[in-house]
């Protein structure tokens, strides 16, 4: 590609946008209109057809114009882009300022060999990529290589570093990852969606069955069933519920993270994953503002971990993850850290918070739980006091356990390069941040903590969400102060 040639998106984007706007905008509006005005479709089919054609022509014209007006080129170490019909947006980005370059292929793009390339700078104020282009795959790859300043021959690099710097997740681990990431709340969403779907579309077919279910659900008829059947019913429901959420979680992670691989060449980290929508990210190690080792509750029991990274532009969109490696045990984690992220060497021991703070962690949660209870009481006391009090007890128990686990997990570690803060109850997190990546720090002390000589230590790093604080609670006042003063002493 010549350096100064003006380039455009692939023409397929025009067709894609036309079809997309037809189905996403025109059809729903038409449906709404038909329902509101109670028109019979069969009588007005020609009119609908004509309106459709007009919409398509209009949409084609605007999209072609848009395509024509969207240009980009690379020159003198900068990438220039311009887009917009009425409001023109021009952007010029220094290549050295680029934080991450991502390639993404949706299923349909893969068949046409087209890729979306996303270019991000360190700006976290906008929630989307700075520049987005649709190009032929090989063009996108060559631009990516140009922007990340890497030698073109990816294959060669891979072979050279195959043993040390290349990791691939096998299918077994992927399924295990899905199992450990089960979210218990998601089942309700799935069931509700399925129920609504049945209610809306299949109700006339399944009318009798639904009535039966309604009978069972109706509390006045519950008394007619024996205690045994009731318990059996609840157990059956719980088992079904578990199966649904486990299946959902496994399938979701399988589709999302299929064929997960990570490699490092020079200072670039390359990540690739996806079954239908293949995503390919690369970013400079220098741009990582923090590494997180996260553990869900199940992972804590099985002693498995997920490595995540905070890089502006990585994992900032819907359906994207911040994962660096989905599932590792202790040894694998140390291996990956020492081969791929050698600045973040392993930390064997973190300093735990004092024993005496145990009840402080629990007490705070207990009070929060109690407040939720009091609010819920006013809403529910008319309906059913038994359900209210049992749910209430469960919530308070959950909160207290969360507090206890947070006490067990909280800790910190500091050396001359790195600060490590550990926090979180059911969801444990260990944040590892290089000292020169800390943007600002804060030390908080509540009135109650003052008596016990404790404080909370928080640091802020650059990330996809602005103003997010990493915080370990209830440190010893002295330790907190020592770390706080050391943070910016060099």
């Amino acid at each position: 590609m010549k350096e100064n040639k003006v380039e455009r998106n692939h023409f397929f984007t025009v067709i894609y946008n036309i079809i997309n706007s037809y189905f996403r905008i025109f059809i729903p509006m038409l449906m709404l209109f038909i329902f509101k005005a109670e028109i019979r479709v069969s009588e007005h089919i020609i009119k609908i057809f004509i309106v459709s054609i007009i919409f398509l022509i209009f949409s084609a014209l605007t999209n072609i114009l848009k395509w024509k007006k969207t240009i980009y080129y690379i020159y003198e170490g900068k990438i220039y882009s311009k887009k917009g019909i009425f409001f023109i947006k021009e952007k010029e980005i220094q290549i050295s300022n680029i934080y991450s370059v991502d390639l993404e292929q949706k299923f349909i793009n893969r068949m046409l060999n087209i890729a979306k390339i996303k270019i991000d700078t360190g700006n976290s104020s906008e929630n989307e990529a700075e520049i987005e282009l649709f190009l032929k795959l090989h063009e996108a790859k060559s631009i990516k290589n140009k922007l990340t300043g890497k030698v073109c021959n990816e294959e060669l690099n891979k072979k050279e570093n195959l043993k040390e710097n290349y990791y691939k997740l096998d299918k077994k681990s992927l399924i295990l990852y899905g199992l450990t990431k089960v979210k218990f709340g998601i089942g309700f969403v799935v069931i509700l969606t399925v129920y609504n779907f049945i209610d809306d579309y299949l109700s006339f077919i399944l009318k009798d069955e639904l009535l039966k279910i309604n009978d069972i659900v109706n509390s006045s008829t519950i008394r007619n069933y024996s205690f045994d059947t009731l318990i059996k019913g609840i157990l059956l429901f719980l088992i079904l519920y578990l199966i649904i959420i486990i299946l959902f979680s496994v399938i979701k992670s399988f589709i999302k993270l299929y064929d997960y691989s990570i490699s490092r060449s020079d200072s670039n980290i390359n990540i690739k994953y996806g079954l239908f929508d293949v995503k390919n990210y690369s970013f400079d190690v220098e741009k990582i503002s923090g590494v997180f080792i996260t553990q869900t509750f199940i992972q804590q029991i099985l002693n498995l971990k997920t490595i995540e990274v905070e890089v502006v532009g990585y994992g900032n969109e819907k359906n994207e993850v911040k994962v660096l490696y989905p599932l590792v045990n202790e040894n694998k984690m140390n291996e990956i850290l020492s081969n791929i992220l050698y600045d973040y060497y392993k930390v064997n021991k973190v300093n735990k918070v004092q024993n005496s703070t145990k009840f402080r962690f629990i007490r705070v949660r207990f009070i929060v739980g109690l407040i939720i209870q009091i609010i819920l009481f006013f809403v529910f006391y008319k309906f059913n006091l038994v359900i209210y009090s049992s749910v209430g007890l469960l919530i308070i128990l959950y909160m207290c356990l969360d507090g206890y686990f947070e006490y067990r997990n909280s800790g910190y570690y500091l050396n001359d390069k790195l600060i490590v803060l550990q926090y979180g109850g059911f969801k444990k997190r260990r944040a590892m941040v290089l000292l020169n990546k800390v943007e600002s720090a804060m030390l908080n002390q509540s009135v109650f903590q003052k008596n016990k000589k404790l404080n909370d230590l928080g640091i802020v790093i650059q990330g996809n969400s602005f103003g997010k604080e990493i915080k370990t609670k209830n440190l010893n006042e002295k330790d907190g102060l020592i770390i706080f003063n050391k943070l910016f002493s060099n």
């Binding site: 360190g122 976290s124 600002s440 804060m442 908080n444 509540s446 009135v447 802020v460 706080f484 910016f488």
Partner: protein, 157 residues
Amino acid sequence: MDLKFKNIDKKAILLWRINGLILTLILGVISLLIYKIFSVFWGNIGFGIMGITGILCVIIHPFFEYKQWKYGIFEDKIEILHGIYFNKHIIVPISKIQYLNISQGPIQKKLNLSSVQIFTAGNEVEIEAISYVESKKIVNLINDVINNNEVAENERE
């Protein structure tokens, strides 16, 4: 190096009292609406919250908040101390500052006050309620420090 924490402008107390009063009035209007339209019970609770907010935000808080608020601009960092129930101590190294903002609301303008917002790549820190002249001074000072640091760095290279 000027190793001293400074207090903010004394007019801050007045500013916070006015803000508290506005908040109380808004709560009052909302409570009245709830009282009239939805339920007497929740309306009364609303009035209760309004009363507590009024006492705290208009009468008690501003005075203590003023006593707690301190800021210091040092050679390599900015430090801020504030908070009544939660004492907050914030450090922002000057090398991490991306840009500065001076902002002034309508009430602040009347009282000749302004606040300085300090932006890093990760978050925003605010020095509240200082006189406009003072905030200009702060911005210039920080700019000088940043420039000096840059010059020093270039020389080193």
